[in-house]
Symmetry: C2
Subunit: 142 residues, 2 copies
């Protein structure tokens, strides 16, 4: 009974109770508020989530750098949050953002600049919308 009630509360309730994974993270999808394009998939810990909600700008937690990270703090390519949504089981966040410049550290507007298609020898990638808006060598050089 308690599990059932718990699930109903999480799925149908209006209490914000993000379900962080074993590393303390939820998945976050950022889409372009204008076009609907998926810009990036990243992670937020509790602090990143709170800072994003409070500031209206996207903060993430970098697993590779093990650090809180304000999107655009190095590149200037900030994300202004137009709307934040929570999913049914409260382990994923969707933010619709106004993206300054490019979302991807490689300089592309979106991190998803390659299509996957079935080839004769298995799946293969091809570039789509892969023009760079900036040169990462310049932007991230300190």
């Amino acid at each position: 009974m308690s599990t059932s009630a718990g699930i109903n509360d999480i799925e149908e309730g209006l209490v914000f109770q993000p379900k962080f994974d074993a590393s303390g993270l939820v998945t976050c999808v950022a889409t372009d508020a204008g076009t609907g394009e998926v810009l990036m998939v990243a992670h937020m810990n509790d602090e990143a989530l709170r800072k994003t909600i409070a500031s209206g700008e996207a903060w993430y937690f970098s697993r590779s750098r093990n650090a809180l990270w304000r999107k655009g703090e190095s590149s200037g390519n900030v994300q202004r949050v137009v709307e934040m949504r929570m999913d049914c089981d409260q382990d994923a966040i969707w933010i619709r953002v106004e993206q300054t410049g490019a979302a991807c550290h490689t300089g592309r507007r979106s991190c998803f600049y390659r299509a996957v298609t079935a080839g004769e020898c298995g799946a293969q990638l091809s570039f789509v919308d892969a023009d760079r808006l900036f040169d990462p060598k310049t932007v991230y050089r300190k």
Copy 2:
């Protein structure tokens, strides 16, 4: 040198080499090919990914059920894949789909049927686009 070459290969190459996590999964975001709405965030293991590419319909791996899962196999709410994209570091997939009926097991079109806003006592949820397209009690009853 090898790490640098490896990253360049993953980010700039056209070889499909998904980076599965410790559980053998990549994150997959499914959006409505027509509206750009994020329908759901789920996971794919190697087999789900291969079946999705080969069949043109979305397959996932359920962490809670520890099982491969063809989207819509119980509910009939299948996802036809219009386009699949891979992200820069090859650990996330974006599929643009034609969704039959509702994507969410709660009966909503999208799993993201609640908005997150800052309230006086912290973040809170509110229903947005939360009408049910089906009654989960009926659809999932066996």
